[in-house]
Amino acid sequence: MNHDVNTIFQIAGIGIIVAMLHTILKQMGKEEYAHWVTLIGFIVVLYMVITIIDDLFQKIRGVFLFQG
C-alpha cells in the first residue's frame, strides 16, 4: 500500500495553516498575497488527491479487465 493515512492529516494540517496565513496576511493588509497562498496550498493538496485517484483508477482498470 503506497498511500498512507498520514496524508489525511497532512491535508488537514495544510488547510489549517493556510487558513492561519490567510487571516494573518489579511490583517496585515496584503489581500493579494493571502489569495495566492490559498491558491498554492490548494494546488499542493489537489496534487496529493489526484495521485491517489489516479492510483485508484489504474487499479480499477486492472481488476475489472478494462484493457480493451
Binding site: M1, H3, V5, T7, I8, F9, I11, A12, I14, G15, I16, V18, A19, H22, T38, G41, F42, V45, L46, M48, V49, I52, I53, D55, L56, F57, K59, I60, R61, V63, F64, L65, F66
Partner: protein, 132 residues
Amino acid sequence: MTAIDILQIVGLGLIATFLVIVVKEQKPVFAFTITVFTGALIFLYLIGEIQHIIQMLESLASKANVEIVYIETVLKIIGIAYIAEFGAQIVRDAGQGAIASKIELAGKLLILAMAIPILTLIIETVLKLLPS
C-alpha cells in the same frame, strides 16, 4: 483479519470526519479534498477484496465452461457501476446534485450499451425457442 480491516476503515472514516469538521470552518475547499482522499483510500482498501471475489468468479466460470466474453462484459459492467457510484457520491457531497445525476445517467447508459450483445443473444435464443 476481516474484523481488523473493518475497524481500520471505521476509524479512518471517523478521523477523517473530525478533521473535515475542524477544517470546514476555515476553508471548505480543503475539507472537500479530505473527503475525496478518504473516499479514494477506502476504495483502495476494498479493491483488494474485490479482486479475490473476481478471481473466484473467473475460476467458477472456467469450470462451468462459460465463455470468457460474457464474464468480461459482466466484470466491465460492475466496474462501470463502481466508478460511477464513486464519482457521483463525491460530486453530490460537494453539493452538485445535478452533475451527480448526470454521472449516474452516463453510468446507466454505458452499462446498457455494454449489455446489448448479451441482450440480443437472449432475444435470439428466445425467438428460436418459440414455435413459428
